[in-house]
C-alpha cells in the first residue's frame, strides 16, 4: 500500500480486482481507517453489494454511485463515489462527501415536522382537560340528595343542555335504583337557560325513572320560561308539578 505524494483535494484510493487497496491519498487516510488494507472494511455492509455490482458492470468508463462509508467520524457517511478501471485492472476511486448542508436542511424540516406534531399533542391535551372540566361541572350541576329513606331530591343548576342531562342521568339513575325511594323531587329553581335538546333529554330521564321505578316524580320551582317549554310536552301522566321545595317539605311534614 503506497501513499500518493500528489496533493489531492479529495480522498482517493486505488484498488485492485480483489478489493485490496494499492494506493491512497493523504485525505483518504484522514477520512478512513485503512489499517485492513481492504476496501470492504470501509464500506457499510449494506452498500457492499452495490459497489460490487456497479463496479463490475462498469467496463472502462467512469461510473458514479452513492455509497455509505464508515468514516473516522461517522459509521454511515454518505458519499458520491466516482470509480474508473484502468487497463491494469486497478480502479481509481474518488470519494466526494455529500454536502452536509443538505443534512442541515433536512434536520430543520424534521424539526418543524416534530413541532407541528407536538403542538398537535398539546392542543389535544388541553382539549381533553377542558372536556373533563366540563363533564365535572355538569356532574356538579345535578347533585343527588337523599332526604329520607323514601324521598330524594335532585336540584338542577344552570343551563339545561343535553350533555349536562346525559352526564347527570347516569349517576342519578344509579342512585335512585340503589335506594328504595318512593318519591323523586327535581328542583328547577336554579335553572337558567333551557336548550331544546336539553329539555328533550330531561323528559327522557324523567320518563325512564317513572317507567323503571314507578316512583312519584315531582318537578318543583318551575319558572315561567320553563313552564312554557314543559307545557309543549304532554307530561301530566308522568310527573306532578308543585310549587316550591318549601311547600313540598311542609306538605310532607303534615
Amino acid at each position: 500500500m503506497e501513499q500518493l505524494t500528489l496533493p489531492l483535494p479529495l480522498p482517493y484510493l486505488k484498488v485492485n480486482r480483489d478489493g485490496r487497496i494499492v494506493a491512497y491519498s493523504a485525505l483518504a487516510e484522514d477520512h478512513f481507517d485503512l489499517s485492513s488494507g481492504h476496501i470492504r472494511t470501509l464500506v457499510d455492509e449494506e452498500s457492499i453489494n452495490k459497489l460490487d455490482r456497479i463496479s463490475s458492470e462498469a467496463g472502462l468508463s467512469p461510473v458514479k454511485m452513492e455509497l455509505n462509508m464508515k468514516t473516522n467520524e461517522n459509521p454511515l457517511g454518505l458519499f458520491d463515489v466516482h470509480l474508473q478501471w484502468d487497463s491494469e485492472n486497478q480502479a481509481g476511486m474518488i470519494f466526494l462527501p455529500k454536502d452536509s448542508s443538505n443534512e442541515e436542511l433536512i434536520q430543520k424540516l424534521a424539526d418543524i415536522q416534530n413541532r407541528l406534531s407536538s403542538s398537535d399533542f398539546e392542543l389535544l391535551e388541553k382539549k381533553e382537560e377542558l372536556e373533563n372540566v366540563l363533564k365535572r361541572m355538569d356532574r356538579l350541576s345535578g347533585p343527588f340528595i337523599p332526604l329520607s329513606d323514601t324521598l330524594c331530591l335532585i336540584p338542577l343548576f344552570g343551563d339545561i343542555t343535553a350533555d349536562k342531562i346525559n352526564t347527570i342521568s347516569e349517576s342519578c339513575l344509579q342512585s335512585v335504583f340503589s335506594g328504595s325511594y318512593e318519591m323523586v323531587l327535581f328542583d328547577l329553581t336554579a335553572v337558567g337557560e333551557v336548550h331544546a335538546d336539553g329539555i328533550g333529554t330531561f323528559i327522557q330521564l324523567v320518563k325512564t325513572l317513572k317507567f323503571m321505578t314507578g316512583n312519584v316524580i315531582k318537578l318543583i320551582g318551575i319558572k315561567p320560561n320553563l313552564a312554557k317549554e314543559l307545557n309543549r310536552h304532554d307530561l301530566d301522566q308522568w310527573v306532578q308539578f308543585n310549587h316550591s321545595l318549601k311547600e313540598e317539605l311542609t306538605y310532607l311534614d303534615q
Partner: protein, 225 residues
C-alpha cells in the same frame, strides 16, 4: 408495471395526487393490506432502486415525504372511539426511518387504541418522561439501522423499570435480519411485520398469551381477504 412499482415511481416523482390515485386503484382497500402489500414493498423497492444506482438518497427523501403524506391522509379520521388501551410509538434517538412506525400507529388506532405517535428520533429522557406521565399500556419502538442497536437495549431497560409495566414492542427492518433478543428483555415483544403486529393486537384484546417472535419461523400473512 406492478402496482408496487407504479406507486414507487409516483412517490419518487413527489406527486401526492398521483400517489393517492395509485392507492385508490389498488384492488385491496383495507388499510392494513395497503400498508403491508403495497406501501411497504414500494418503499423497499425504492431501496432496491438505490442499490442499483437508479436513484439517490435525495430522491428517497422526496419519496419519504410523499409517502408520509399518503399515510397521514389514509389514517385521517380513524381512532375516534378509544377504549382498547393507550399506546405510544417512537424511533430510537438518531433513527430517522419512521414510516413503518407510523403504519403501526395507524393500525393500533384502527383497533380502538388511543395513541401518541412521536415519529423519528425521540431521546430517551423525553420518552421516559411521557411514559411516566401518560402511563401507556404499550410502548412501540422502531429501529432500522444496525448502529442503533446498543440504544435499543438502553430504551428497553429503562421502560422495563416503569412501575406500570407496559408491554414493550420492538419492530422495524432489523427484526427481519437479525435476532434482536440479545438486545431486549425476555418479555420484550419482537414483531416482524404488520400481520404479526395485528395478531398481537387481536390476542391482546382477547387477553391471550403474548409472546411475539421467540423462534425463527416466519409467520404466514394474516390478511386473507
Amino acid at each position: 408495471m406492478t402496482h408496487i412499482e407504479a406507486l414507487a415511481s409516483c412517490l419518487l416523482e413527489g406527486d401526492p395526487d398521483k400517489a393517492w390515485a395509485c392507492i385508490e386503484n389498488y384492488p385491496e382497500s383495507a388499510r392494513p393490506d395497503v400498508y403491508h402489500n403495497l406501501m411497504t414493498p414500494a418503499m423497499r423497492h425504492i431501496g432496491h432502486l438505490w442499490e442499483t444506482n437508479k436513484i439517490t438518497v435525495a430522491d428517497e427523501h422526496l419519496a419519504t415525504a410523499t409517502c408520509d403524506f399518503i399515510l397521514s391522509r389514509l389514517s385521517y379520521g380513524i381512532g375516534k372511539e378509544t377504549s382498547a388501551g393507550k399506546a405510544m410509538f417512537l424511533c430510537l434517538d438518531g433513527e430517522q426511518h419512521y414510516l413503518g412506525l407510523k403504519m403501526v400507529d395507524s393500525l393500533f388506532k384502527e383497533h380502538g387504541w388511543e395513541t401518541r405517535y412521536f415519529g423519528p428520533s425521540l431521546p430517551l429522557e423525553y420518552a421516559l418522561h411521557t411514559a411516566e406521565n401518560w402511563k401507556p399500556d404499550v410502548i412501540g419502538l422502531s429501529v432500522s439501522i444496525v448502529y442503533h442497536l446498543p440504544k435499543l437495549q438502553q430504551y428497553v431497560d429503562a421502560f422495563s423499570r416503569l412501575p406500570e409495566n407496559p408491554a414493550v414492542l420492538v419492530g422495524g427492518r432489523l427484526t427481519d435480519l437479525y435476532n434482536l433478543r440479545p438486545h431486549c428483555k425476555e418479555d420484550t415483544v419482537i414483531l416482524r411485520s404488520l400481520p404479526e403486529t395485528e395478531r398481537w393486537i387481536q390476542n391482546d384484546l382477547t387477553g391471550g398469551q403474548q409472546s411475539g417472535t421467540t423462534n425463527s419461523t416466519p409467520s404466514p400473512p394474516v390478511f386473507e381477504s
